[in-house]
């Protein structure tokens, strides 16, 4: 708060003691003047922790680079909400997660926004953004192409992604990946977290050594730590697409 600012909290508290019905129009006008002229950060945000977390996400370098590419884009707000939900899931706050999911579902972009939330809940949303930023640089993609590729990933996520879990066998995962290859999908996304991150990495290494992707797909892989949990994600994009985007054609 600037030193010379009248204290809006004190003013409101004093009026509250007298009672709202006793506040004269002159007093209300004064309150309005002080509020509008205030340089302080006074307001009412029921969940300052959540607002603060989303503010932190907004300065994440991957998010910022993605935002720089796509510009003003209706889905970037939901990316921050998705990453917030991921954090709340990690803390086990299921009730709050469900409330936010319901709120997102009821928003005007409900269906697509929920797809973003779903990908965020797997922990690999930032990796998706990083892959797109990298694709933009490597293939000199336009803003439009990056947006379309992002939306295609949202729409096709369940068809093209393979989640490696602790319980799943190497053979089962490899079968799933080969099934996607057989369908000639333009992009395959394989990911695992925690102990399964290493397993996912081994599976991809095995497939590369077996030349399963040879002549068909180019892998782009990333290892990272999020909240002290290891993540491995591999995007295999079709070589047929050349310098185009993998999906948005």
């Amino acid at each position: 708060m600037a030193q010379d600012d009248p204290d809006i909290n004190k003013i409101l508290a004093n009026v509250a003691v007298l009672g709202i019905e006793k506040a004269s129009s002159r007093t209300l006008k004064y309150i309005q003047k002080v509020w509008l002229g205030s340089t302080s950060k006074v307001g009412f945000t029921p969940e300052p922790e959540e607002a603060s977390r989303m503010k932190d996400i907004s300065v994440n370098s991957t998010y910022q680079r993605f935002k720089l590419i796509v510009g003003k884009y209706k889905f970037t707000a939901y990316i921050k909400v998705g990453l917030l939900i991921y954090d709340l899931n990690q803390k086990g706050d299921r009730e709050r997660v469900q409330k936010i999911r319901d709120d997102v579902y009821n928003s005007k972009d409900g269906a697509n926004a929920l797809k973003i939330i779903h990908i965020a809940s797997t922990g690999v949303l930032l990796h998706v953004l990083e892959y797109l930023v990298n694709s933009k640089d490597e293939k000199n993609l336009s803003q439009f192409a990056v947006r379309r590729e992002f939306e295609e990933i949202l729409n096709q996520w369940t068809r093209i992604s393979v989640s490696v879990g602790n319980q799943s066998s190497h053979e089962d995962i490899i079968t799933k990946i080969k099934f996607i290859i057989k369908r000639q999908e333009d992009l395959i996304i394989v990911y695992g977290c925690g102990r399964a991150a290493h397993k996912a990495q081994l599976i991809i290494a095995k497939l590369i050594n077996n030349k399963t992707f040879y002549g068909l797909y180019l892998p782009w892989a990333k290892n990272s730590m999020i909240n002290n949990i290891p993540y491995f994600v591999c995007f295999c994009y079709s070589v047929d697409k050349g310098t185009d985007t993998a999906l948005a054609n």
Binding site: I8, N9, L12, A13, V15, A16, I20, A23, L28, K29, I31, Q32, W35, L36, G37, S38, T39, S40, K41, V42, G43, F44, T45, P46, E47, P48, E49, E50, A51, S52, M54, K55, S58, K67, T76, A77, Y78, K80, V81, L84, I100, D103, V104, N106, S107, K108, A113
Partner: protein, 84 residues
């Protein structure tokens, strides 16, 4: 409009103070607790969620007369509009 650099330092107003501020800014609440324009009695719609704003879920953007629903989606859009 002042920018919120740190939401954790955001000063929350109690409900009485909030009602007085809303009244000073030209708002009231209806019988179901939704924020209304004092002059017309019509419910205020959040500029981000496009939905009516309930008193308990309302926020006033700092240094403005804009009332919004306080949901992660609307806060995310607010951050995008003013802070990114």
């Amino acid at each position: 409009m002042p920018k919120v650099e740190n939401f954790k330092k955001f000063t929350n107003l109690d409900n009485n103070a909030k009602r007085i501020l809303l009244k000073a800014l030209g708002y009231g609440t209806d019988s179901k607790g939704f924020v209304i324009w004092a002059d017309s009695g019509k419910r205020v719609r959040c500029k981000y969620t496009k939905r009516p704003v309930h008193f308990y879920e309302s926020s006033v953007l700092p240094g403005s007369t804009i009332v919004i629903n306080t949901t992660p989606t609307s806060l995310s859009k607010y951050i995008e509009e003013y802070l990114e």
